[in-house]
């Protein structure tokens, strides 16, 4: 079985991320890392592979620095990686990203495509359903328990009303929740071995996607302005020096909520 895992390279620590006021794009020049939610998808792919054999390919779209995220996933145990990197694809919104990613996935023809539950930079939680529609495959999202057997995927997931169980035949697209597993840390051997694993870098034109359908040109949404958040009350922050409990009680008494 061939499993493709889509990952995103995101700025390290969302609290320090910022949007460039000129381009209105997320600044990608600082330190980056694999989207933490995606490591759960990588882990799930590895568990399926370990239980029933298979081949795990990591797929990403991003700047050259996204190599770091691929290397992390390869160090965890994935077999190969595909990176779409192209200046023309910068600034892609959901529609433009779907155009590129669906083409990259088609070129790999996986039985199962896995996504993490959201991107922690854009808070987007929509890509899998868009990609599934483009690939004309069934989709299961927010899956907290996944079973792959007899050519079918079965997923249990939480909705606003409790827990659903959904089943679909392979090939299928599945987005997993971060509750599904505890991602492993790469072993030293895994880290050493990652560099020698096959990695393919492709451009948008090599995927056969028209440049007009990617990047800002191919996008259908636009960021028009950046504003400061509305003001809110000051946060009192303290480090515990052994007296935190007393200070919390004082604070609650002062606020008259005890």
């Amino acid at each position: 079985m061939k499993i493709a895992v889509c990952v995103k390279h995101v700025p390290e620590g969302t609290t320090h991320a910022r949007i460039d006021p000129q381009t209105k794009r997320l600044t990608r020049s600082g330190e980056g890392a694999i989207n933490p939610f995606d490591t759960h998808a990588v882990e799930e792919a590895l568990r399926i592979k370990e239980a029933q054999q298979g081949d795990v390919v990591i797929v990403t779209m991003g700047p050259q620095s996204a190599q770091d995220s691929l290397r992390k996933a390869l160090a965890m145990g994935a077999d190969s990686a595909v990176m779409v990197t192209d200046e023309a694809a910068a600034g892609s919104d959901l529609v433009a990203t779907t155009n590129v990613l669906a083409a990259a996935l088609e070129s790999e023809a996986p039985d199962l495509v896995l996504f993490g539950q959201q991107a922690n930079d854009s808070d987007g939680a929509v890509l899998w359903a868009a990609v599934a529609d483009r690939l004309r495959r069934p989709v299961l999202s927010q899956v907290a328990e996944l079973t792959v057997a007899d050519g079918k995927v079965t997923g249990k997931r939480q909705t606003e009303f409790g827990y659903d169980t959904i089943q679909a035949p392979l090939p299928a697209v599945v987005a997993v929740s971060d509750a599904i597993n505890e991602p492993r840390y790469p072993s030293l051997k895994g880290i050493m071995g990652a560099r020698s694993k096959p990695q393919r870098t492709v451009s948008v034109s090599e995927l056969g996607v028209d440049a007009a359908r990617v990047g800002e040109t191919g996008s259908k949404t636009v960021v028009q302005a950046l504003n400061d958040p509305p003001p809110r009350g000051d946060t009192v922050k303290l480090e515990d020096d052994g007296s935190a409990a007393e200070k919390i009680v004082e604070y609650l008494a002062e606020k008259k909520v005890l």
Binding site: G13, T15, R18, I19, L94, V95, A102, D121, D123, A125, V126, L127, W128, A129, A130, V131, R136, R137, P138, V139, L140, S141, T154, Q158, T159, E160, F161, G162, Y163, D164, T165, I166, Q167, A168, A179, S219, K220, T221, V222, V223, Q224, A225, L226, N227, D228, P229, P230, T235, V236, K237, L238, E239, D240, A244, A245, I248, V249, L252, V257, L258
Partner: protein
Amino acid sequence: MATLVFLEHHEGELVKPALGVLSKAAELDGDVVGVVLGSGVRDLAAKAGAFGAAKVYVADKPELERPLPQPRVDALAALVGEQGFDTVLFAASVLSADVAAGLSARLGAGLNWDLTDLVQENGTLIGKRPALGDSVYVDVGWTDEPRLALIRAGTFEAKETGGGAQVEEFDVQFEDFSLAATMVEQAHAESEGPSIEDADVIVAGGRGLGSPDNFKLVEELAQALGGAVAATRAVVDAGWYPYATQVGQTGRTVSPKLYVACGISGAIQHKVGMQSSGVIVAINKDPNAPIFDFCDLGVVGDLHEIVPKLTELIRQRRS
């Protein structure tokens, strides 16, 4: 504008967040149209009139009985194509996010998500979206039609203004792949256990507790404060605590006078369910946890040491 609002329903009721979006859309565009997709839902459709819909389209098909996204994409793509809607609005939910995203790919239509407001500026529709942990508010727009938008749940209040809607049925041809997924078991609203929505004080636990056993620290503090216990999605999904206590996007929305968050990082899904609480106290060992950006009192430290001491001090004070 020709606006269509996706009206999600559950167990015979249109869901409140969708009716809220309908009410807002009716303010922006007098002739707003709703759409109800399901099986045996003709009567439901007429109810949307009271919340501002002038007209409601209905597709009543057995293929639409279960709340699965892909057959709904087929239905909406057909309706938007035939009727020429330029704007399609969704109240965000597990189901509607997948429907909106699928529709975006099918129609090549721009989708903006997590919107907390919609305004008309010089005749152009603009969405407001808090981004990067709400540190910046982004104005987002669309370069083409149709425009698709997911509105953060609970953003707009459903306003019952009375009135009826004209109901019209439409037909749908389903794609094979859209019918491939099946629902083996469908969620039902859980009614057991006390509701946390009415509590004045809530003590909530997250993954930072480290293990399900440590929920007793949270329970003891809640008991000392005379409050209720809540949990995050992560620990509910992990089976540490029951779903009925979950606060956040797919759980309850609460606004107690006091909310004490123990070992909760403050992910956006949790934040939307508790940010309107009176006083928010957070205890977390990670100084960079997003919750420190929107709590009133943030304590960086080990909750396993602080919480038992806090419980003891409050017990002493109350006795």
